[in-house]
């Protein structure tokens, strides 16, 4: 169908290839890695929120499961980091599958509350199991090694997350424009209409929740290895909200919007750091203005402006 949607992916690849050679120093490279990690998480979350029309206010919980699997299993049990990462992701997926069935019977505010509760429960578990997790103080994470080759420098991590980002964007664009993706968007548009054409609504909601939890968990693991230290704050409510804000600002149901949202909201606190104490206020004001003037999010609003007359 719309081959033009893939143009953005080619543009993204070019930017990612050029970026490490034009950034002035490691500070910006580090920022780019964190942006890419957030972008991948936010794309997964946007499949759930923007495309399928469900909500999760507890997604940082899955980040936490992945991050702590990668911290605890190699440290205390001597597991290989890759095995630990995959175990964490499978545990997240399993947990997501178990809770999804009852949770997605709920709608709107109730669903938001239930997912919020899930995230908080995970966070409390991480805080309280201090003998394994170091409790509120957090714990160091051993370095990631692939085939005996240690990934340590910012530059190495950059290439890893850049490749993952490209794969995630490609896979998500494919998914959206497929029978599975259409069913997902249809149940967002009208649940009863999708049911009567044969969509098993519950199964689709569970699948996409599990997929986004799996993706978040993997990225939680990667974040943990990248930063080398992990604390429960990484899995707390505020981080969940931050991720949802990235989805909303960038644009619901827009893969590229997710990237823009992640890039802006990862950079914004840095850019506002000069306001000294007022950065939270400025941050909030910018978010409010975005919501008032671009309620659909940046990318869909701008896309609509530029393609006027294209549509019938």
């Amino acid at each position: 169908m719309n081959k033009r949607i893939y143009y953005g992916l080619y543009g993204l690849i070019v930017i990612l290839l050029v970026l490490p050679f034009v950034v002035p120093n490691n500070f910006y490279l580090d920022l780019a890695v964190r942006m890419a990690i957030n972008a991948i998480i936010v794309i997964g979350l946007n499949l759930l929120i923007g495309f399928a029309g469900q909500i999760s206010l507890g997604h940082a919980g899955f980040l936490g499961i992945g991050a702590y699997a990668s911290a605890v299993l190699p440290m205390h049990f001597g597991w290989h980091p890759v095995t630990a990462m995959l175990t964490g992701a499978l545990a997240s997926a399993l947990l997501a599958a178990l809770v999804a069935k009852p949770i997605f019977k709920l709608k709107g505010h109730y669903l938001a509350m239930a997912t919020l509760g899930l995230g908080i429960i995970i966070n409390i578990a991480l805080r309280n199991e201090a003998q394994w997790t170091g409790g509120p103080d957090g714990m160091p994470v051993m370095p990631m090694a692939l085939f005996g080759f240690e990934i340590g420098s910012d530059r190495q991590w950059y290439w890893v997350v850049a490749a993952l980002l490209v794969l995630t964007v490609w896979g998500s664009l494919n998914l959206i424009d497929s029978p599975f993706g259409r069913a997902l968007r249809a149940l967002h548009g009208s649940e009863v209409a999708s049911q009567v054409v044969g969509v098993n609504v519950a199964r689709y909601k569970v699948s996409i929740f599990v997929l986004s939890a799996f993706s978040a968990s993997i990225m939680g693991s990667i974040s943990a290895h990248y930063i080398g230290f992990i604390s429960p704050n990484f899995a707390d409510f505020f981080h969940s909200i931050e991720l949802v804000t990235m989805v909303v600002i960038g644009g619901m149901a827009s893969v590229y919007g997710s990237i823009v949202g992640a890039v802006l909201l990862t950079a914004l606190p840095q850019a506002l750091a000069t306001f000294e104490g007022w950065e939270t206020v400025a941050f909030g004001a910018i978010l409010m203005l975005c919501m008032i003037f671009m309620p659909r999010g940046l990318v869909p609003t701008l896309a609509a402006r530029f393609s006027k007359g294209d549509d019938k």
Partner: protein
């Protein structure tokens, strides 16, 4: 054996008996209409048969198999399609995608194949797009093939729902007031469209208020009033039935 058999079907919402002991059967290949004053229980009856509601009591059989209590997606698998009185169009999708989603059950819906964009899946989707465009042509929406759903008029959306239902390749289609809110010219076009659908071999069950259209199309008619079966028969039988006349026109005191 009839295609669809309904026996003593009832549903109560609290104290409201929306449908009470309704029985009828529909033979394969006919146009069967359900009429009655507003609030008679016509849409409730549709919702019961298509699995949106679960009946309080009674029995529904499709091809002899008991189907009450089955979910709408299980009934879709058995060849049942429907449209809605209050439009149920996915406004977050393009018009043609709304039709394509109707073919959901005929497609490979695997998540991983979709993410990898396997060529076989892609080719099937391209073919479906052509088929969906053909269906839009069939219901008279040829000019909207490239349109977004939220840019279409009410009358066009009503037909888009029919196209989506047809994309399922159903045996049985339930049309809930396809002509409601349409002007006389559009009504006539829908009349022709329903005839075309019936001629293609699909059994049509119709709820409609436009009596000219009902009398013109229907092989048999069921009349409901206050959730009860008032009369059933051919158009002429129903028209001559004194109970029906009383319900529609009122009686002398």
């Amino acid at each position: 054996m009839s295609l669809l058999e309904v026996k003593d079907l009832s549903i109560h919402f609290g104290g409201v008996k929306a449908v009470q002991n309704v029985s009828f059967s529909i033979d394969s290949g006919i146009v069967y209409s359900v009429i009655g004053p507003n609030g008679a229980g016509k849409t409730t009856l549709f919702n019961l048969i298509t699995g949106v509601y679960t009946p309080t009591s009674g029995e529904i059989r499709l091809d002899g198999e008991i189907i009450q209590g089955k979910s709408p997606d299980e009934l879709a698998r058995r060849g049942m399609a429907r449209t809605f009185q209050n439009l149920q169009i996915c406004m977050n999708m393009s018009a043609i995608e709304n039709v394509m989603v109707g073919a959901h059950l005929r497609l490979d819906r695997n998540l991983f194949k979709a993410m990898l964009r396997l060529p076989a899946l892609k080719r099937r989707d391209e073919a479906l797009r052509e088929e969906a465009a053909g269906l839009m042509e069939f219901v008279g929406l040829g000019e909207y093939v490239g349109a977004r759903a939220d840019a279409m008029s009410y009358g066009a959306l009503k037909r888009l729902e029919i196209a989506r239902a047809l994309a399922m390749k159903p045996r049985l289609i339930f049309l809930d007031e396809p002509a409601a809110g349409l002007n006389p010219k559009e009504t006539q076009e829908v009349d022709h469209l329903v005839r075309k659908v019936a001629d293609s071999g699909i059994t049509v069950v119709l709820v409609e208020h436009d009596m000219k259209m009902v009398m013109n199309l229907s092989d048999r008619i069921l009349v409901l009033d206050y959730g009860r079966r008032l009369a059933e028969g051919t158009g002429q039988e129903v028209r001559a039935n004194p109970d029906v006349i009383a319900a529609y026109l009122g009686t002398h005191a």
